[in-house]
Subunit: 304 residues, 2 copies
Amino acid sequence: MSGKAAFIGIDWGTSNLRAAVLDGDGAVLRAVARPLGVLAVAAGRFEAVFEDVVGPWLGEFAACPVVACGMVGSRQGWCEAPYLPCPCDEPALAAGLVHPPGRYAGRVSIVPGAMVAGVGRAPDVMRGEEVQVFGALAPDAEDAVVCLPGTHSKWVVVRGRSIEHFATHMTGEVFELLGRHSILAKLMEGEAFDASGFRAGLARAREPGGLLHHLFSVRALNLVGRLPGTALHAFLSGVLLGHEVAAGLVLSGSPLEVVLAGRPELCGLYREALADHDVAAVVADDGASFRGLARVARRAGLIS
Amino acid sequence: MSGKAAFIGIDWGTSNLRAAVLDGDGAVLRAVARPLGVLAVAAGRFEAVFEDVVGPWLGEFAACPVVACGMVGSRQGWCEAPYLPCPCDEPALAAGLVHPPGRYAGRVSIVPGAMVAGVGRAPDVMRGEEVQVFGALAPDAEDAVVCLPGTHSKWVVVRGRSIEHFATHMTGEVFELLGRHSILAKLMEGEAFDASGFRAGLARAREPGGLLHHLFSVRALNLVGRLPGTALHAFLSGVLLGHEVAAGLVLSGSPLEVVLAGRPELCGLYREALADHDVAAVVADDGASFRGLARVARRAGLIS
């Protein structure tokens, strides 16, 4: 059962804006989604877009603060919230909130992103996923490996409920480019999911030869009649996910269990790829971003 | 010093057609190149394109046979020359020559491609590179690993002067897609070669994390100010070449020396990537395709 409206949360990413009226636990009371990601908003227009999307709620829920995360806090967003270095926990995110200039400065808070930095560490950055991670973890969880699959998948190592390290994998974007614009795309007959093609791709990814070679198997297996055109899209997906999961597990210290948060059908595919490595998957409930925003808002004293 | 005209050779690939009048060793006496690859020629138009490009030589060098290799022998080409299974040597290629229907059947021979096939082997295919390999090898070489860098790089294992096994890596195509159409492309300031960016990419490729993660370093290193926009294109190239070379060496049985054949500047980059693994590079002279065609033509008794 949902509680009383406590705040307005916004997950404002590169491509999309999702906003909701939420209770104190981050459960959704009202929601809206628009394809008005940061890339679609011209500089100086963020306040106007904010009013357009969230405006009706600002009066109706006059006591509710607004907390936003994602690319809205980047240099190209509404107001830059500098990346916080890892290790990075909920109190750090709460202490790092920034407020956009203009008429909503007193009402809107933007959560900073997180970064891996420092001598001898390969740098990495994220915005929005740091909030999703804290929403995906069980409330009492201290240590975990969290995987957020997507265009740029994140593998996040949490120790003592602090983000210790993370790594981005460009799996989704590479899949999109190869599945649409490569020589492989010409051989594909549709994009319907083919379970045996996907499994064959996962298996191929575990053989020697490297990703750049395995990609060509899409073509070679089809040419020799061992993989129909209708299975190629899923096979490519299996090859890429298989490579990501193998590398992600190693970089995360070979965990026995991974928490998955993301689109349910995508989490299902990652669950299968993890099972190949005898790693258990715990799929987080939907709404990790909003639950994470609630936790940060509470830490910041914005909600009680 | 070049000898007497012995045959006309054509390297007729996916994107380009290169033809030459050659002496018995495959040295070029006259040459022409046109962007009339198989993709640019409509079905049924191959004979006309052939006449258009090579026609003037057919009368002047009336005694010269014509030998062609590459995608011209594919199903989408002039006349299909079925792939020969590996192991595949020069006599097998000579015995597998096919002749296109029409008025040039008695004069034109097309060299078949080669394939890796069979239970338990990951299939792979090539057309044109099998000829290039035999042209790149020293005349008396028996065993070698040959790397042909390009859009679809080939790593070819030669034993007893026979192609035993090979693997295709989609390095060039992935580089093109990511360097032009990905989120990484937006950060790149030009495509001029940057040596330190390239070396940093090679080094990144040797760290743990996998290719899909290393690709994101293009963005992360730039964001944290450790790699300027002008170095990103070369860094991406280094990451991809580094991954290809590491995987190619393993699949080829960890050779101590690799023969490189391809565009000289590309061979230079591969030489550097190989040196990272303490592997020596022998860069073949230009013209491996035409030298290889001469060897096949001689084996087939077409030239003496």
